[in-house]
């Protein structure tokens, strides 16, 4: 185990309200983005078509990323680029719900004994999306060498065996408890996922990581042990749950960055929610159409975990939860450290979103354009061992080549440097700007 720098979770926790649970009715309208901005998919439906929940509506021609499935039954209103919550326009399918609850599932395979290949296919078909951004989509990441044929030949390390499979039960950032609650409430399902994962990944070791203060019942721990799973209690320190640092902490190995392919060091990471979705997909043939997000409005004293069909508009979600909301100053999808502030409430809440933070004017943290005072706080806390002070200055004054040489692309945009900076510099903004400029200039040449 390696020491990881960062900030204490307790330090950043503004409030640890006990969460309540809620299930929302079917949304009136959903927007389902086809793929991410890195890779677009082809739509399989067109405006006017009728779809039922679970029906495949978009797929990747090369078969690399899992397909997108309708989350509600109803009529396709249009297929057009829509704003996603990360601020990019993505080709999306807009569906108007007709209130039907029938669901399509891939149940034809379920009767007979499942081959490894069938399991991977089921996982693929379930259309599971993940909160973290990984180098490879889920099925490719956890499949043992030779299991999937869909890996395009140019992808390196497909023959690398998986030494460590890490099931990450830690939430990504302070104040979030989605994975934590899923683990506590669904121990049995998690236990069921282990043999499945073991089968497809052929992992040398499966490790479940939880925060130190996470309650693990003794019998659960014993059962995990019987299945050959090690529980690793990690320090409550943000951002240990992010992939490069998690792998470094657990195995001591460095994922080569900026490529970020954990398979290169023989590890695969999935989060606990994904593990549970895998169980649903494999045991019940369920297509993953729902998402549970935490909605936190600390000023209102609200911290609620909402289960709802994927693709619901933020507008509708907020309206259902807070019919008379005033004084909203900022809406952030994806958490206070890693999330994106929304300019427009017509964005879909998809499975990639784990938490929505609503802030009022008093909670805002504003940036200033003060110069860096070279205090070194950011260097002290940067988990990636970069020197954010220099990088930010390089990006600010257009010395992008220097920034790139000093590992700008290793920055995981965790936001700690901004968080601790006494001059309140918009560090992450500068880094993203720098990265974009470099990528753009590379594309030109």
């Amino acid at each position: 185990m390696k020491r990881i720098k960062g900030i204490c979770n307790e330090l950043a926790e503004k409030s640890d309200l006990y969460p309540t649970y809620k299930r929302l009715p079917l949304p009136k309208k959903v927007i389902l983005p086809l793929g991410s901005f890195r890779r677009e998919m082809a739509p399989l439906v067109k405006a006017g078509d009728k779809v039922i929940a679970g029906q495949r509506i978009g797929e990747d021609i090369e078969g690399v990323i899992p397909p997108v499935c309708a989350s509600v039954s109803g009529k396709v209103l249009e297929v057009r680029p829509c704003l996603g919550f990360s601020g990019q326009e993505i080709l999306s399918v807009v569906i108007e719900s007709d209130g039907e609850t029938n669901t399509k599932s891939v149940d034809e395979n379920l009767q007979r004994e499942l081959e490894d290949r069938d399991i991977i296919q089921l996982i693929f078909d379930a259309g599971i999306k993940e909160t973290d951004q990984f180098y490879w989509p889920l099925p490719l990441r956890i499949a043992k060498p030779g299991l999937t044929s869909v890996i395009p030949s140019y992808q390196p390390f497909k023959t690398e065996p998986i030494d460590f499979l890490i099931i990450n039960g830690m939430d990504r950032q302070p104040g979030v408890s989605v994975r934590r609650n899923a683990l506590i409430n669904r121990e049995k399902d998690l236990l069921e996922s282990i043999p499945v994962l073991q089968k497809v990944s052929n992992a040398g070791k499966i490790i479940l990581t939880v925060y130190k203060d996470h309650p693990v019942p003794l019998d659960f721990e014993q059962k995990l042990k019987d299945l050959g799973v090690t529980i690793l209690r990690c320090p409550s320190r943000y951002p240990i749950a992010l992939e490069p640092l998690l792998v470094k902490f657990v195995t001591g190995r460095d994922i080569p960055l900026p490529m970020g392919n954990s398979r290169a060091v023989g590890t695969a990471v999935i989060d606990a929610i994904t593990a549970l979705r895998i169980v649903e997909a494999v045991k019940e043939g369920r297509i993953s159409t729902e998402t549970t997000v935490q909605v936190s409005a600390f000023s209102l004293g609200v911290n609620v975990h909402v289960t709802v069909a994927e693709g619901i508009l933020l507008e509708e979600l907020v309206e259902q939860l807070f019919p008379s909301l005033e004084n909203l100053s900022k809406a952030v999808i994806g958490g206070s450290f890693l999330g994106y502030a929304q300019q427009n409430f017509k964005v879909p809440v998809t499975q990639e979103a784990d938490v929505i933070v609503l802030q009022n004017a008093d909670e805002l943290s504003l940036y200033s354009n003060q110069p860096c005072i070279n205090c070194g706080f950011c260097v002290r806390y940067c988990p990636m061992m970069l020197m954010p002070n220099e990088l930010s200055k390089n990006c600010e004054y257009n010395r992008f080549d220097v920034a790139e040489k000093n590992d700008l692309f290793s920055c995981i945009e965790c936001g700690i440097c901004s968080y601790v900076c006494p001059a309140r510099r918009p560090m992450v903004h500068l880094f993203r700007f720098g990265k974009q400029e470099i990528l753009a200039s590379k594309e030109e040449s």
Binding site: D254, P371, C375, R380, M387, I416, V420
Partner: protein
């Protein structure tokens, strides 16, 4: 400021609440025991010098920013801190115009000319101090014997600061009770003499995480080790290393001056090398140099090396040899 209705900004959307102002304020708080010790041993004259120096520093920065048409940044308290530290490294024998002159030089030449807080290559306090030291050497090296306000007796053992004694009449130093050194009951500058007060302040800084332990600890340790080497080679000619550390300046320098923002390295190896360099140079200048005091020059020299030391960067996570 009237806030617009709705905000969009880049992540992160929370902040630790840390600010330059807070940091400076906490450093000022940490210096309270030192100021108290100054008053205790030297009376109101000490407070007068500190006060003049602080006021001048703030006014100088204000005027400079006004004249140059820069945004006003006096609110961050950095000039206040520079003024206070400068006052603490002067002797009570200084006439009133010396802190004025020193503070102006410290703030304007030492800091503002380079672009303000954080961009000055040399510790602004020491720039002011060095200017005075070089220009008015006689005035800067006359000291009074402290007269404690209550409880303690005035010390009769020394009439010169221990550092002068270390240089000239080494054997006298052994007569001074340890307690007088620790409390600061010896002649010297206002803020450098009291070991206990400075350690209290330094501990507060460490506790509030304004500074890390690397610079002070490596500074003090390396001064001790180099002093020890000298002492072991010839105990007659060189002083016990402990005297070097408790006889003033080293502790104040290690906790408050060497750690000044922008003039010290920020990476761990850099900080440790910087501390070692400061400590070693201090003893070398004290032993072989012409000036009474080595710490300011040692720190200034190491300040000059800071950009180099900052190049010793830690290996970034994920920076591995190219695979495939």
């Amino acid at each position: 400021m009237k806030r617009p209705e709705f905000y969009v900004s880049i992540s992160p959307h929370v902040h630790s609440g840390n600010s330059v102002q807070k940091m400076m304020f906490q450093t000022l708080m940490a210096l309270v025991p030192v100021v108290f010790a100054g008053w205790f041993f030297f009376g109101l004259t000490a407070l007068k010098i500190i006060f003049i120096s602080m006021i001048t520093a703030v006014v100088a920065e204000f005027l400079w920013e006004k004249i140059m048409g820069l945004p006003l940044r006096i609110g961050d308290g950095s000039s206040l801190l520079t003024g206070l530290l400068l006052g603490l490294v002067l002797s009570t024998e200084c006439p009133w115009w010396m802190p004025v002159l020193g503070a102006c030089v410290a703030v304007i030449i030492g800091k503002e000319l380079f672009g303000g807080l954080g961009n000055n290559p040399f510790s602004s306090v020491l720039v002011g101090w060095t200017f005075l030291q070089v220009s008015y050497r006689d005035l800067m090296s006359s000291f009074v014997v402290p007269e404690p306000q209550f409880l303690l007796e005035s010390s009769e053992y020394l009439v010169d600061p221990p550092l002068v004694v270390l240089k000239e009449e080494m054997d006298m130093i052994a007569d001074v009770p340890w307690m007088d050194f620790l409390l600061g009951n010896v002649p010297g500058e206002i803020g450098t003499i009291s070991v206990i007060a400075v350690i209290l302040g330094g501990a507060y800084l460490l506790f509030r995480r304004i500074i890390t332990w690397h610079i002070p600890v490596s500074f003090i340790l390396s001064a001790w080790i180099i002093g020890l080497i000298f002492w072991l080679t010839d105990p007659e000619a060189y002083a016990n290393p402990v005297y070097h550390i408790i006889s003033g300046w080293v502790l104040l320098g290690a906790f408050f001056i060497a750690t000044e923002r922008g003039t010290a390295p920020v990476t761990v190896p850099g900080m440790i090398l910087y501390g070692i360099g400061c400590g070693a140079l201090t003893i070398i200048i004290r032993t072989w140099g012409g000036y009474m005091e080595g710490v300011p020059f040692a720190i200034l020299l190491m300040n000059a090396l800071t950009p180099l030391l900052d190049r010793i960067r830690p290996r970034a996570v994920g920076r591995v040899k190219k695979i495939a």
